[in-house]
Amino acid sequence: MHPFALLRAHDATAAIAAHAQDPELAFIAGGTDLLGLIKDRATLPARLLDINGLPDMARIDARPEGGLSIGALARMSDVAVHPEVRKRFPVITEALLFSASGQLRNMASIGGNIMQRTRCAYFRDEDDLPCNKRRPGSGCAARHGLNRNHAIFGWSDVCVATNPSDLAVALAALDAHVIVRGASGERSIPFSEFHRLPGTTPATETVLKRGELIVAIEVPPSPEGRASHYLKLRDRQSYEFALVSAAAAVAVDGRRLRSVRLALGGVAPKPWRLTAAEAALSGVSLDDPGALARAIAASFGDARPLAHNAFKIELAQRVALRALQIAGERA
């Protein structure tokens, strides 16, 4: 690893000020994404600020009205196994338990998880292959290279990588908010606005600004929370990123869907909410798979496959349907 200095933060205000003033400083939480990027020389910060000592940022609060507040430093394992998270939002527990490995989940923080970089295998190559995310203007090796694992929604000619976070898919479906603190106070970012599409600047993946610290994730109460499911399809059964995944949450009247929340992972540079499908699904019977599938298709009109991933269009619709049916069984 290239050399850097390591500082310890004890106070959020001072940590935010240090980050704002120093463009070569990076926060480190679990380190499981950042240290890999540093080892691959994809980022070379001069100073790391260890934020694990910041007070009150690892709490998981089950709010009386049915929502959750998850501190940015809470570990993936602790959130996954929390009894109220399991009960109120199984989709969050499942998204976490289907991520990474037991060791990584003990280390990785929730803030770090939603900040993990959107990238593809070409990005890791140190100097030979073009990658606009790593070296702006160098081109995209995946656009006309091997792109089976890449995006079918939201990509640009500049970058076609997918966002790897499973948790982010669940949080997008649940309309969570990212609570961020900066020099001028706190702001609350709706989850679907937190990640941005690559456009011509693929290296900027979120709307977080320098000098901003994620302090918590707020999950609002929702009638769909309990009947929810995360379905993840991968090339091996465990310890692997999603080929395609879906987060589904439903409320029903008898066997009819009253309201639906649906988002996909593994298909876009950010968690991909299926808003057209959600609207079309309302009123449809869980016992009519044909009608469910037709409603889901409402969100696939703008899917654009690359050379090797057209199969994802069909696969994603089937994964969404299955996730919806399993969520329906929990209603």
């Binding site: 290239h2 050399p3 380190g31 890999g36 260890d50 196994v81 037991g102 465990s238």
Partner: protein, 183 residues
């Protein structure tokens, strides 16, 4: 910042106090030193193995404050004041830990390179099941989980963060199952 300036900053060693296998240790490490390198290079505890150095294989698994983690993906200086247990810390007074004994009985290895990581992970898997933690293989998240629920499918899922290049998986699963019934 220039490379020279960067190197000056990075090479300023930082003092770290750790308790490793019950022994208090004081180290002076470069900030970039991973916990794995500190254990192997500074403390000569070479039981913990370095394979991928990217969080992808589990060979470097150790316990920090009783929880399994990957020592290649954290910095030694971030573990100030922590209790670390490595494979060398499992046996007591010549008595192997139940998981170590089970790996021998069930022939849970060939080359042995992944074995320290497998064993450290397995010890934690048993503790996690005792604590009622579900996994991706758990059918009903709402039901309480105990050691009795540690089926082969559960063990495979919970141990998936430890790869074995010799592919001893069936015997590893058998060893963890045996140790779990003895625990």
């Amino acid at each position: 910042m220039s490379e020279t300036r960067r190197a000056e900053l990075g090479e300023q060693r930082v003092a770290v106090a750790l308790t490793v296998n019950g022994r208090a240790c004081r180290l002076a490490v470069e900030p970039r030193t991973t916990l794995l390198d500190a254990l192997r290079e500074d403390l000569a505890l070479t039981g913990t193995k370095k394979a991928c150095d990217r969080g992808e294989c589990g060979a470097c698994t150790v316990h920090v404050e009783g929880r399994r983690i990957l020592s290649c993906m954290t910095l030694a200086a971030m573990q100030e004041g922590k209790q670390i247990t490595t494979i060398e810390g499992l046996e007591h007074d010549g008595q192997l830990h139940a998981v170590q004994a089970a790996f021998i009985e069930q022939d849970g290895f060939q080359c042995g390179f992944c074995t320290p990581g497998q064993i450290m992970s397995a010890v934690a898997v048993i503790e996690e099941a005792k604590a009622g933690w579900p996994s991706a293989a758990t059918a009903d998240l709402q039901r309480p989980i105990s050691l009795a629920n540690l089926s082969k499918a559960e063990i495979r899922e919970r141990m998936s963060g430890n790869l074995c290049r010799c592919s001893c998986y069936p015997n590893i699963v058998a060893a963890v199952a045996e140790a779990a019934t003895r625990s």
